[in-house]
Amino acid sequence: MKTLLWLRKSVEKLVGSSKGFSSVVGTVFMVLVVMLLSTGVFLWTLSQNTLYNQAVMQKNQTELDRLNEKVTASNVNYTVAGNLVSVQVALQNQGPLSAQIVSLWVIDATLNKYNFSSPLNINMKPGNTTTLTGANAIKVKIIGALWSDQLSSWFVTARGNVVPPQSVGGLTVAQVSAGIGSVSMDFSSFFYYNVSITAPWALSPWLNGGNGYNINSKGGDVAFKVRLTNFDYPQKRDITLSSHSIFWALFPSGGTQQRGAPWFIVNVNNSGIIANTFKNVTLPYGAPTDIFFASANDMSAGFTGGQKFPSMGGVIPGAALVTIALIGQIGTPPGTPPYGQNLPFAAIYVNS
């Protein structure tokens, strides 16, 4: 009872007294202010930490993607023509993610020179294979590069991975006529020329010539130019063509007998003049080389008089099969075994 009374009196005093009332109000305000501010700061810090954690997760995902990216480069072949190094390669995306190839670097370790091709923008879906051969091969300019130089290369992807070649391949079937030998013919560089009536035996129109698949001889003599590349791998030996090498066209005739016309290999100088004598022609490894066929006879003894160039006059205008028989040797002395290859896959049409 006494306690109750005492409590009642204390409360009445407290409520009734105006002393310290402002302090109470101020304290309440302060508490509210502190709570408000601390809540704001706490929530903001939480949101920033969440953002940071998300960024870390994204970074981890990016690194994981980079590790999972798997692009392989196989069957790499280098050919050198002029100062251009041509890189033929088969790229395969073996990973689960799409890949973008950004650049190709080529190093010539012999010359201590390098160059690159960028941007490439080769995009590959998972499992895709991209074959860069022929006209699609990537060309990189390295001044002074030779077919015999030590060449190496690598690709760089957009994720920052470096793709070195897995294997330096030898022949690729697409590069060689049905894979039947070491020499490949460039079917886009097959031309014919009209031969002048009198000596010096000049080819016209020089230098470009006419399309070798469609001939307008106008009754005159013609010569042919083919571009051959030696892909002897892995030995990378030179091939030397002798005077017996022949470009042979077989014309079906209206009668029972078919007509064949041979064009033997000749030397042609930079002005388009056929030499009167013959020196063996070398096909260096990896270097596209122009070979001319013009003579009606084997040039081992040069032009020996009589008919110098195959006559087109007796040939019925029409289609003809062409086969190129390459005869010579492979390798450099001493020890140069004989070499022979037939390139049968060409055809021509004679208009006149």
């Binding site: 402002s22 109000v25 920033q48 930490n49 960024a55 950004v102 957009a158 920052g160």
Partner: protein, 164 residues
Amino acid sequence: MDSRKMRRLLHGRRAVSAVISNVILMGAVIAVSFVVLVWARNQSSAYNNQYGNAVSADISSLQERLTFEYVFHNRTGVYVYLMNSGTVNNVTVKTVYIENATWTVIPTKSNLKHFNGTNIADQDLDTTEQGYFVLSSLTLKAGTSYSVLIITGRGSSFENTFVA
């Protein structure tokens, strides 16, 4: 009874000063409280901004990634070819170190250039952008392995080794 009490309260002059003083004190307390509230909010806003900027900078730094496409050394210097393979733009090359097992040098660095040799106008690499710079004033021993360490403007570091 109650209305009489009320009239007495309203018309009585006793303890008027106490009421007025209380009102004044409360008003002062509330006013000061508001001032304190505004000041404290400003302070916490400033803190939030700073914290937000620091986190944002850390996030950008995380997103940076430089790929060394090729590092080549000859008599004219060390050529460093780079690509920004990260997910953030404006990656700048702040400092470059060349080091081996025993020493570290900061060589002279050329401007950042495109692969075709022209200067990169903003001197930074955006995503998938490629560029290179040349380090000169170096004497390196042929056949020795060195490291090139790049510190970006955001503080990330990337390192690659090469043989001189």
